[in-house]
Symmetry: C2
Subunit: 336 residues, 2 copies
């Protein structure tokens, strides 16, 4: 029998915690019989819930880190918070991964400072799967590092490639650099230097990716600094919402349009679900020793379940070990 | 009788030049009786066309700068190109402004190097009106300066405010800084420093604008460096297109949806036009001595016409003089 995967879930994380988290945990346990969940949160929440499930172990944590708190200060001060206690279980090897829909900043800080970086990784990167036309595109970094050096992007490219291969099954993922022109010499000094390094070190590097190409499926992996990546991710989310709002307005602005709208409503609702990044289940933080998946604060139960399954998949695929291995082989090639 | 406005139009600029440009010129001349157009291009194109109009003066330029050419090299080598000759007319005071849907880079270079910056302006900025929810938002810089210093953004904010007031009639435009968090201390080192400077020097500064807020109408003017601005602009364009593609797919995926689609088609076509940035008529380059409006390469005749009218409005409003004046009053306040 396959050994089960042990994943910590932060019961207190997210705008609608703990209710939607508990629903998501139920759904994940029902869907996948190989997951064992360490449910971390205040005892009044986690103990009664866990007692109804075979594969759910309650872990007490008396404090909660709020969305607005300063990440590093919060994890230093709230040692008994669900995020700090949860990451501690991964550090100690009790569990192999951690999922939270709580404060992204606090999760990043805890994962980096408590679980720790893979040896040789300069900076972990937060990745997100974008809803490109009929195929996924992985964008990273989307916010772990507001300031980057060009060589970080080479490691982001390697980690992104491994994620697309091992988790999403893309055979030969292509890598693009987010930039403001297609030609190699275009862009900021940062982008020009990153372009040179990527060309020299990443064999699947396919050149610059302009903003418009982020969602047209031209590249499988797109690398950028965490500032530009985060702004773009939120711009895509905002523009998608705006467009659906405009479509809704257009469809309710005349009687014949309203009639038509009634006929297309089901399809548009499905579209809204399809383009929701939550369907891929949160953002993996790549480059840390264990697995860490960070869900959207507004996650619903389905998104929580998908995030837990994404954590399971990353652990099953030995993602973290593959990233470590790729760094080792790269340095041995260089050293030879 | 009001004196007419003299505007150079580049007959050779744009993916569909000269045909759509000539159609746009016709439409602009018909719509506005106070415009006089200096139509710049190869004689075989501009002479026969101009001979049919009272207020169209042909200007011969034997060369054309292509979309892929290196901007600064091209304007140095092709002295008899429509862009170089056209900007020369503004420099010499023959015309007050210039419109082109040709190479953005070459137009930026020619406007900056030939027409010249307003005294005291560190860097001119390219601005674009975004299709926010039911109101316009001005984003700048969207590509004139891939590398910026934080203090450039203070001038961008001033120029953006003046544009929104004088051209789009917004009474008290609010200014936001594109950033990756709402709190002042968030973001890259660049963004943190820009935030401090804007807070100190721009009374209408209303804080950080996240990517998602670019299109929700939260701010009237949003400032950023030309790299981030260009990536965001293209991301918005790409995401809008993607969404319309998904909507189209959804509406043709079943018989009842197809029936509904027939009823809503007119509304969706109108939406597509409404969100087209071309309806505001190209991007003004703010901070140069004359007026310079750069149209999208894919401009149709309507977009060309709107760009010409935008140039007319900027000249009529004395935009360039107002920007110069605002710098003078700012420095006299500082000096007092």
């Amino acid at each position: 029998m396959t050994e089960s995967v042990k994943l910590v879930v932060d019961a207190m994380g997210g705008d609608n915690a703990p209710d939607v988290v508990l629903k998501g945990v139920s759904a994940a346990l029902a869907e996948n019989s190989e997951i064992e969940i360490y449910l971390c949160g205040t005892p009044d929440i986690v103990e009664p819930f866990a007692s109804s499930y075979d594969r759910c172990i309650p872990v007490s944590a008396s404090e909660v880190i709020g969305m607005g708190e300063h990440p590093v200060d919060a994890i230093k001060q709230k040692k008994d918070s669900s995020i700090v206690v949860g990451c501690g279980l991964v550090k100690d090897g009790v569990a192999q991964g951690f999922f939270s829909a709580g404060s992204t900043g606090a999760c990043l800080a805890a994962a980096t400072l408590i679980v720790g970086r893979i040896k040789g990784i300069k900076r972990p990167a937060l990745a997100v799967v974008l809803p490109s036309y009929n195929k996924p595109t992985l964008l990273l970094d989307v916010g772990a590092n507001a300031d980057c050096k060009p060589d970080y992007l080479v490691q982001f490219a390697k980690m992104g490639e491994i994620y697309m291969k091992d988790i999403l099954g893309v055979v030969s993922p292509s890598v693009g650099l987010l930039n403001i022109g297609e030609e190699d010499a275009k862009g900021s000094l940062f982008a020009q230097e990153a372009n040179s390094l990527l060309k020299a070190e990443i064999s699947s590097f396919a050149g610059n990716c302009e903003g418009g190409d982020l969602v047209d499926g031209k590249f499988d992996v797109v690398v950028t600094d965490g500032f530009t990546g985060n702004v773009c991710l939120k711009t895509i989310e905002g523009t998608s919402k705006l467009m659906l709002r405009y479509v809704k307005d257009a469809l309710t602005s005349s009687t014949s349009a309203k009639l038509g709208a009634a006929l297309v409503k089901g399809k548009l609702t499905k579209l809204k679900e399809d383009i929701n990044p939550d369907k891929y289940g949160g953002s993996p933080l790549l480059g840390i020793k264990g697995t860490c998946i960070i869900g959207h604060g507004s996650s619903n139960a389905e998104a929580i379940k998908n995030g837990i399954i994404a954590g399971y998949n990353a652990i099953r695929a030995n993602l973290s070990a593959s990233i470590e291995e790729s760094l080792r082989s790269a340095s041995s090639v260089k050293g030879s």
